[in-house]
Symmetry: C2
Subunit: 249 residues, 2 copies
DNA sequence: AAATTTTTCGCGTATAATGCGAATTATGTT
DNA sequence: AACATAATTCGCATTATACGCGAAAAATTT
């Protein structure tokens, strides 16, 4: 178990629910001296990861914004997926959204979103950088079968209730069976599990048919229920194309 | 001079020009052992700031994307400025862009960008998170008069040529005089200094009329040359409004 | 201008990071 | 599939460096 850098622990305190911290509060939270808290904060400010706000408080800093742009321009998965996403947009019904997502800390994060031209994105819950539940919605569900068993055991132990409520089985065995079935089919369709008026269709992105990278998904209007099954195989093909692009260069 | 956290130094290696690193290359670059490099990388991966890519290499990770969204939703300056920006968009000629920017490491970073509805943003160089030159363009220039003198001395020593080319004076004294003049007027207008077909108009954002927070600017089409001077005072008023909003709560 | 709070600095001590080399795991090849 | 090679982790002794303390300095408020 790694991950015991004091300075980075400070950064982890800055969450959506608590985005503003003073050095003193940091010292309390991490149980270190105030001088150390100031030292940590100074390092993070120097790196641009934090920036001073009013009243001796600190918030996330400009380096984040710059790094985010760097990801948009250089991230291999993003770069490999983007043209494919643009390509498959034309096969989707209008008012659809295409998502590129990946796991992060027991949640699913939308990494990139493609919407057809004029459509207001606000109506779909998946927003770039917004953590989404791991067991609800096609985008999330399709990732589960490709997780290492130890992760699945831990997840099931911690979230058995959620897993049941998501229709993924009553106990461990049923859970595994549900996952096997998803893996066999190769894609997942869910009906208004996240947004009431939307259907999600998702396929996994894998490295060498094994390690999970993320998922590729359509979010289409409820009214397009008939088109949904056709889009599953289409997404699988697109996902494979992304995988190939990723492997080249 | 603080800022000597080894783990964070690793993060600083990941730039637009060199966005992919292996542990071994990190070890070389920082002149540490490979095991240490692996340790640092593991810490950053655990924090989500890095993520593994193909072939034992690493790239910036999902935490960046999540943090970026957090900034969008919670950053005090951003939150204070956004409604004001929306408000002053209606006074700008069509095909205009409004920018919220701040300094970062001797560059200027666009923090938020507001374009009128249908207009394609690609035609303006200022992109969210893209570092822009510190001495060219109204957005940048208007910040200079509010920098501490020691910063200005350092900048002038390092970039005397750029400063001259930007029309900010031949030597140190002329430079200071140019800055004083900008401060006196309260806003800056520049003509096609960044984009050939654009005029920039910018006003500073200050904390208690002193410390520089950033700048607020219009980017308007070249054809609107006559409107530009009217927009200067308008931006100053808007900037003051942002400052007040920021001070409340 | 005085008082109070916030932030930085200097320093001795002890903790925790470091490099080494070996063990383990992953990857690629015949 | 078995081997060879590379990539990554682990264990440990050493010493560097991050730590807390208290004081000094700076900033903020009264």
């Amino acid at each position: 178990m790694a991950g015991h850098d004091r300075t980075i622990s400070v950064l982890k305190l800055f969450t959506i629910d608590r985005p503003v911290w003073t050095a003193e509060k940091v010292a309390e939270a991490l149980e270190v001296s105030v001088s150390s808290a100031y030292r940590y904060v100074a390092i993070l400010v120097e790196a641009g990861l934090l920036t001073p706000a009013r009243g001796g408080s600190y918030v996330l800093g400009p380096a984040i914004i710059q790094y985010d742009r760097q990801i948009q321009l250089t991230d291999p998965l993003l770069v490999a997926a983007r043209p494919v996403m643009a390509d498959i947009l034309r096969y989707a019904p209008s008012h659809s959204v295409i998502l590129l997502s990946r796991m992060f800390e027991d949640t699913v994060l939308c990494i990139d979103q493609l919407v057809d031209g004029t459509y207001p994105t606000a109506e779909v819950s998946y927003a770039r950088g917004r953590p989404m539940p791991l067991f609800r919605g096609a985008t999330s569900k399709i990732m589960l079968p490709y997780l290492p068993t130890r992760d699945l055991r831990r997840l099931h132990a911690a979230h058995a209730g959620e897993i049941r409520d998501a229709g993924l089985g009553e106990g461990w065995d049923e859970f595994r069976k549900a996952l096997t079935e998803m893996r066999r089919r190769g894609y997942v369709i869910t009906y208004w599990e996240i947004d009431p008026e939307r259907i999600g269709i998702a396929a996994p992105l894998l490295e060498d048919q094994k390690r999970l990278l993320g998922s590729l998904s359509y979010v289409i209007p409820k009214s397009e229920q008939d088109t949904a099954p056709r889009l599953g195989p289409l997404l699988m093909a697109a996902a494979r194309e992304v995988e190939v692009r990723l492997a080249e260069d």
